[in-house]
Symmetry: C2
DNA sequence: CGATTTTCATTTGTCAGACAATTAAAAGTC
DNA sequence: GACTTTTAATTGTCTGACAAATGAAAATCG
């Protein structure tokens, strides 16, 4: 763990990287306690504030956690799927909101991912998964349901589909894509007609899953993907028109 | 933007969250300059050090960048795919190295993702993509190639396959999965026999892509997935045996 | 006047020292 | 032995200072 005081990089960045490297290559193990801030300052020959800024950088990435008090300190964090998923969601949301990626691209990625889950889900789905999906479909047919609630149910439905695949890596990757699309998705389910169509496709997918027919699940998803993209396009077009002639 | 000095959360965390929220909901736009650290300190009624720790947290997530000097300061960052991919890779690497996810799960996710790309890649692949893949296959047949070099070429092959799908979201998601698996992948390509088999499957996949036959690409990937999982298992078993009887 | 150099004000990066808040362990008390 | 108090260790926050970078304004020169 060495740093160069004459580098163009900030000291706190260098220190954060040194500690991260130590974690990644195994010199620091999960739940192991780091030296105190004062000790780190001595080791790296910097002040405590600089060490603290480095630790905050690592904490922001869930690499460490800190605890006050005697026998407190900074500990190497075991990165959980929840943490990773949280990071994924914030990153994806920003990517979409800053227009680095458009709705069509996100939509395509989302359904490609779900499609990848289809055969696994068909094979591994439990009765529980199926029951959850049926319940969500039923909720989606309620007439008084708000757009937000419909959309939340839609997310829950798809999330269950992915969870049924039994692969947490896929689950957390999809979570980012879905969550980021949420705001725009809210806008494209506002007519009763599109809801009807979506519910019909959801039912088809659930039926296919019940029959453990992966190929049929894929076909249902493909159709849903096409429909969603279409709706997204028309909403975007309407928006653009409103902007030019307000 | 308000914070609660009596909350159990650290002040720097609260401030970081307040600023992040302002960025996400659009109050702060891309490339917009934040107030100076001193001004932020006044606004939130905290010291400059606390503000700085909050800003470091945001910088660690690439949400802001800072610049010294007159007319310097902190600016809202436009999150790029490269930044997002970098975060994805570090996160995935940690997930795997900390055993929150095992090789089999990562492997399954990886090939599911590639499989999702198959139809898109078959449709959109350019002559360039194909040429790159052929070149990598040719490199993989060189007898003197080191394991690391073979593996790097393998990664390049698959990366091209995904890039051919023309969806940057899928590309950056896969990058994390592949990169994280790299160390173990290095260990499972050490016999000439397995290389032969892998090259044969790569050729099959490239042929299918050339013929724009998405289904055939999927079949090739499925077989490769099965073979890789199998190799991974045997390597893991050999490792375990070595550990019990050293 | 135009181009170049110098000065200067602004802002972040780093440092030093202090105190508050928290917490686990040690010491004391019944 | 169970409970309470004290204590020491550690992070969280504050204050004030100086260094380093940097763009803009001022001064200088041809």
């Amino acid at each position: 763990m060495k740093i160069d005081p004459n580098s163009s990089e900030d000291l706190s960045v260098q220190i954060a990287e040194a500690i991260r490297a130590a974690i990644v290559n195994g010199d620091l193990r999960v739940d192991q306690r780091l030296p105190t801030e004062a000790e780190l300052g001595e080791q790296f020959d910097v002040s405590r504030s600089t060490v603290r800024e480095a630790l905050k950088r690592l904490a922001a990435q869930s690499l460490i956690r800190t605890q006050r008090g005697a026998s407190g300190g900074a500990f190497v964090n075991r990165l959980s799927f929840e943490d990773a998923q949280g990071q994924m969601i914030t990153t994806s949301t920003l990517l979409l909101s800053m227009n680095a990626v458009d709705f069509e691209t996100a939509c395509e990625a989302r359904y490609a991912l779900e499609r990848a889950c289809a055969p696994l889900a068909a094979f591994r789905r439990s009765a529980d998964h199926l029951a959850t999906m049926r319940a969500e479909i039923h909720r989606q047919t309620q007439p008084g349901l708000s757009d937000e609630a419909f959309c939340a149910s839609d997310v829950a439905f798809h999330r269950t589909l992915v969870d049924a695949a039994g692969n947490p890596v896929l689950s957390y990757q999809l979570a980012g894509a879905v969550e980021a699309m949420q705001p725009l998705m809210n806008m494209i389910t506002f007519t009763a007609r599109s809801r009807e169509r979506i519910v019909a496709l959801h039912t088809r997918i659930a039926d296919a899953l019940e029959a453990r027919d992966g190929a049929a699940v894929e076909r249902g998803l493909a159709e849903l993907a096409g429909y969603t993209t279409e709706l997204g396009k028309s909403v975007a077009a309407a928006r653009a028109a409103r902007r030019t002639t307000p």
